[in-house]
């Protein structure tokens, strides 16, 4: 059976999902963008992975438009005037979102919604504003049907922020993903606690280390897709990843890996990125004619390439001959120390590479701890995470994370699953978040055991939607199928639960 026939006969695909699958197939019919033989060889071994970005890129992977500019100047191409009230503002955004491309063809960044909408919201009656925002969220969930669609709020408290939290809790939707930019100076405990409560009930928002991101990107940064730090009015060209476990298979020792195998694979991934970035900028039409570029909603100089890694835990365990994961990376100081050595080596080599374009970052790519994909199975844990099923206590897990998160300006994060009693004690979670962010954690996600909306590796799915797919029915959300794969292959929903501890008295 041809691949095209398989796609159009698949009962679990919606019409739009078929269309996107066929577009990917069409893209693969051209092979004018070529890489070295060594690259293809490494890719065949599974040591390099292009995340199925497609062989002929016709847009950057992630695009973070400047929505403030849209509200200030309107958009000529879409014939949109600057909005004058809340209804117009929401309408302008809904239209604009449909024209923001990405690797998934859905907008991965919806804007800092509270900051954008607050001037309009405060002029309206609260109940009316809530009604409008509720319809806005419904539109996003049903039209932008992909869990990598992401909106940001904070760091300051706002009426809009509160309304979005209330609605998120009431509506229990997987889309959009949501992040609170948390800054201990700017985010009140009261607002942060409201976010914790919402997170327990809906698996969002996550907490981003605002100070850390501002230091790396300036004030105008976005959290997009899963947890990706990028520049507003910019984005990410491409995101391939080193599968570190597979990279380590030919290494005879940790030293051999650090001296030979690791640099070799880093260089091959850089080759892929350079060629791809040049192709997107020079060959495809996006940066020449797309209205986002010509009207200044994004600027070429604000884009960078995202250098991804996965499977650091398994890589370290293999290099040290550790077979029992329970005694490996995360629980074992030697393995963690080797992990840091490997990350230092990657950091230094990538920073030494002169990348094409990426002007705003001194022509440099930035590191990304990729969250894994549904087909990774148990060989490569997401980014630098401790493997699921062997997580130590939450304290130890945080301590390990804090060492690794600073390496990844374009994103990393970890997820903590809480048991039911935490619903009554959200104030017991906030100090954990505050402490870990102050100690170097970049991004904290949590959810409650037994919720329908759950965080898989970085994105959200509904468990009830996964069940639909299992029953060979269609799921509106493109990402549900990844959630099913990650659950089956990577046991992604079986992570350790933070239990309340029975007192002994």
């Amino acid at each position: 059976m041809s691949e095209a026939l398989r796609i159009i006969q698949d009962p679990t695909l919606t019409y739009k999902q078929e269309l996107l699958a066929l577009a990917r197939l069409g893209e693969s019919t051209d092979d004018s963008l070529r890489y070295s033989d060594a690259y293809y060889e490494a890719k065949r071994r599974g040591a390099l992975c292009d995340l199925n970005e497609g062989v002929m890129p016709y847009r950057p992977r992630y695009i973070c438009p400047d929505y403030e500019l849209l509200f200030r100047k309107g958009c000529e191409f879409l014939q949109l005037e600057p909005p004058k009230d809340l209804l117009e503002a929401v309408n302008v955004l809904e239209i604009f979102y449909c024209h923001v491309p990405s690797i998934t063809s859905f907008p991965v960044y919806l804007g800092d919604l509270d900051r954008l909408l607050e001037p309009f919201v405060v002029r309206e009656d609260r109940a009316f504003a809530k009604k409008v925002l509720g319809l806005f969220l419904r539109n996003i969930d049903r039209v932008q049907t992909d869990s990598f669609v992401h909106a940001d709020i904070g760091p300051e408290d706002s009426v809009t922020g509160r309304l979005l939290l209330e609605l998120t809790e009431e509506m229990q939707l997987a889309v959009p993903n949501l992040t609170l930019r948390y800054d201990p100076e700017k985010t009140s405990d009261d607002f942060a606690l409201a976010c914790v409560r919402c997170m327990l009930k809906t698996a969002k928002p996550s907490f981003a280390n605002h100070r850390m991101f501002v230091k790396e990107w300036g004030e105008r940064y976005a959290i997009a897709s899963c947890y990706n730090g990028l520049s507003i009015a910019g984005g990410g060209f491409t995101l391939p990843r080193l599968r570190l476990y597979e990279c380590s298979l030919d290494a005879k020792s940790p030293e051999d890996f650090l001296e030979r195998e690791l640099p070799r694979h880093i260089d091959l991934q850089l080759e892929y990125m350079d060629k791809r970035v040049k192709f997107i900028v020079e060959e495809s039409s996006f940066f020449k004619t797309n209205f986002l570029v010509t009207e200044g909603f994004v600027k070429l100089e604000n884009f960078t390439g995202m250098f991804g890694v996965v499977g650091l835990a398994e890589c370290c365990n293999r290099l040290l001959g550790i077979e029992d994961k329970k005694k490996g990376f995360g629980m074992n100081d030697r393995a963690t120390a080797l992990g840091l050595q490997i990350m230092d080596a990657i950091d230094v080599r990538v920073a030494a590479h002169e990348a094409p374009y990426c002007d705003a970052y001194g022509h440099r790519y930035r590191l990304h701890a990729q969250v894994g994909i549904d087909t990774d199975g148990m060989d490569d844990s997401p980014g630098t995470r401790i493997p699921i099923g062997v997580e130590p206590t939450m304290l130890e897990q945080l301590e390990v994370n804090e060492k690794f998160h600073p390496y990844f300006p374009t994103g990393t994060g970890d997820i903590f699953k809480f048991e039911e009693t935490y619903l009554k004690t959200p104030e017991a979670i906030l100090p954990i978040i505050k402490g870990s962010l102050a100690n170097g954690l970049r991004y904290f996600s949590g959810y409650l055991e037994n919720n329908d909306v759950v965080r898989v590796t970085g994105y959200l799915v509904k468990k009830s939607e996964i069940e639909k797919l299992r029953a060979k029915k269609q799921s509106l959300n493109n990402v549900t199928v990844f959630g099913m794969g990650a659950q089956d292959g990577g046991h992604a929903l079986d992570r350790r639960v933070q239990h309340h501890e029975e007192s002994a008295g």
Binding site: E399, T425, E427, E501, E502, S503, A504, G505
Partner: protein, 289 residues
């Protein structure tokens, strides 16, 4: 009941375990330090292995499937943490309501663990067993914890005479007090300890503003006993502090006592009835947990 006073002077205390993050031992996120040894013998105790100190009888050694227990040269039961798989076979086989998994720790050793969790917590709660058996140790421990800017709470059964020696209160935020039984006979039966001191503490802690919360366990079908306790506590504390009404649960309770107290947990509705009574008597912060 083995004496622990001598060890307190040496500033070592028997620690059953330290939980870095707990959301049920006082407000916010807290590190909980559980000490071994308790002067009460509550029929409904969920952790009877914390009541007594190990007598080195060695019965548990042969029960350990991981080889984590041994008798050392001096005849003491030794526990190897690194080998322990946490199956609790030792605890089940112990005829003395004790545990071989107790560490005699110095204040500095306990502080080392607390410092590690300090960035993520609001404070420290000491519990047990009965932590006030380690009064001198607690005073030193809390003095150190406060240097980190963290709060200190004492989880106590009320057997320690705080009025006679209030020093530990001066270095802590207060006490979370169990008032398990008010009727004299019921108390003698339920906890095997005279309750006059508990009631005296209730009054005293309230008068000096160091009563953080009171807890009472509600037993199924024990209308008279439950009412006497709830009524007394509610009238004493009024709205001054939290009053947690806890449902009796048979999990972990020694089998012979389950038969006496009930093999089923207290119904939520039944517990709620007593919380309502407490509130109607002025204990505005009474609720079922």
């Amino acid at each position: 009941m083995p004496s622990t006073g001598g060890f307190s002077i040496m500033k070592r205390a028997p620690v059953n375990r330290i939980i870095p993050f707990s959301n049920v031992d006082g407000p916010g996120n807290r590190t909980s330090v559980f000490f071994q040894g308790c002067p009460f013998n509550c029929l409904f105790c969920h952790n009877p292995e914390t009541i007594h100190l190990c007598r080195d009888c060695g019965i548990c050694v042969s029960q350990c499937p991981a080889g984590a227990l041994s008798l050392d040269n001096e005849g003491h039961v030794a526990w190897d943490r690194t080998r322990c798989v946490g199956c609790d076979s030792c605890i089940r086989s112990c005829p003395h309501d004790a545990s071989p998994k107790v560490r005699w720790m110095t204040v500095e050793e306990v502080m080392r663990e607390i410092r590690r969790s300090a960035p993520y917590i609001d404070g420290v709660t000491t519990s047990g067993g009965e932590c006030t058996l380690q009064n001198e140790f607690l005073i030193d421990l809390f003095t150190e914890v406060r240097k980190l800017g963290k709060t200190c709470l004492i989880d106590s059964n009320g057997s320690f005479d705080f009025a006679a020696d209030p020093r530990v209160l001066e270095v802590s935020e207060g006490v979370m007090l169990d008032v398990k039984a008010v009727e004299r006979e019921w108390s003698d039966c339920l906890v095997s300890f005279p309750n006059a001191i508990v009631l005296k503490n209730l009054e005293y802690l309230l008068s000096v503003g160091k009563l953080h919360e009171v807890r009472t366990v509600i037993f199924p079908g024990r209308d008279r006993e439950n009412e006497a306790t709830v009524r007394y506590v509610a009238q004493q504390i009024g709205g001054a502090c939290l009053y947690k009404i806890i449902r009796y649960r048979p999990y972990g309770v020694r089998e012979r006592y389950q038969k006496l107290l009930g093999e089923y947990e207290t119904e939520a509705d039944y517990a709620e009835r007593w919380a309502e009574l407490a509130r109607s008597l002025g204990a505005a912060q009474a609720f079922v947990v």
